[in-house]
């Protein structure tokens, strides 16, 4: 498989996110009111599809990176996983203890939280090596 440039990755990720936003705006409002369970499941998973493509592009970009970039990806992903794991465990225990009330929708924030933590951690660790761009 040919290696994509950083700009090609950005373009494809932006396209995946554009499809996601379009599906959220056009499809998501009708999903909750859909009475047929199979159709509800199908429409819901259709919204998830561009996110899966986005994750696949992220994974492919990491695999295409050179050794220093992969090192920064690894450290940043480890830090992001630690932050999201700690936050979700804390929220889970607080909810189980009855201190706060959370519903299943909170799971929608796990991936964005992971992406944000990863971006922040990557910016910090990349600076150690003189900056690696923002790919």
């Amino acid at each position: 498989m040919p290696r994509f440039t950083r700009n090609q990755y950005r373009l494809q990720m932006a396209a995946a996110m554009a499809v996601y936003v379009a599906l959220m705006l056009l499809l998501w409002p009708t999903v909750r009111h859909e009475v047929s369970l199979p159709l509800k499941v199908a429409l819901t998973l259709l919204v998830v599809l561009p996110v899966v493509v986005f994750i696949w592009l992220m994974a492919r970009q990491v695999m295409d990176s050179d050794e220093l970039e992969q090192r920064v990806h690894l450290v940043a992903l480890s830090a992001a996983t630690a932050v999201v794991a700690a936050l979700s465990m804390a929220a889970g225990f607080l909810c189980a203890a009855g201190a706060i009330v959370l519903d299943g929708d909170i799971l929608l924030w796990v991936f964005p939280a992971l992406c944000l933590s990863y971006s922040a951690a990557r910016a910090v660790f990349a600076r150690r090596y003189g900056g690696l761009g923002c790919g």
Partner: protein, 65 residues
């Protein structure tokens, strides 16, 4: 670890981008190696040595640690 990468690159009149393409790494990685912020793996050190037709130890020398 100290290295002579910048000196060798200058001798060939290559930019960091040129060297990055020849080594199949990013320009930022070349810069990190040149400035001593990153020590390359053994396979990359061999690629560098092969490119300049030198031995690894004539390009890289261990630091105090």
């Amino acid at each position: 670890m100290k290295n002579r990468l910048r000196e060798l690159r200058d001798k060939h009149a290559w930019s960091q981008g040129d060297l990055a393409v020849k080594l199949d790494v990013s320009r930022q990685t070349v810069n990190a190696i040149e400035t001593g912020k990153y020590d390359p793996s053994l396979p990359l050190a061999f690629r560098i040595a092969r490119l300049f037709r030198l031995s690894i130890e004539s390009i890289f020398e261990p630091g105090k640690d």
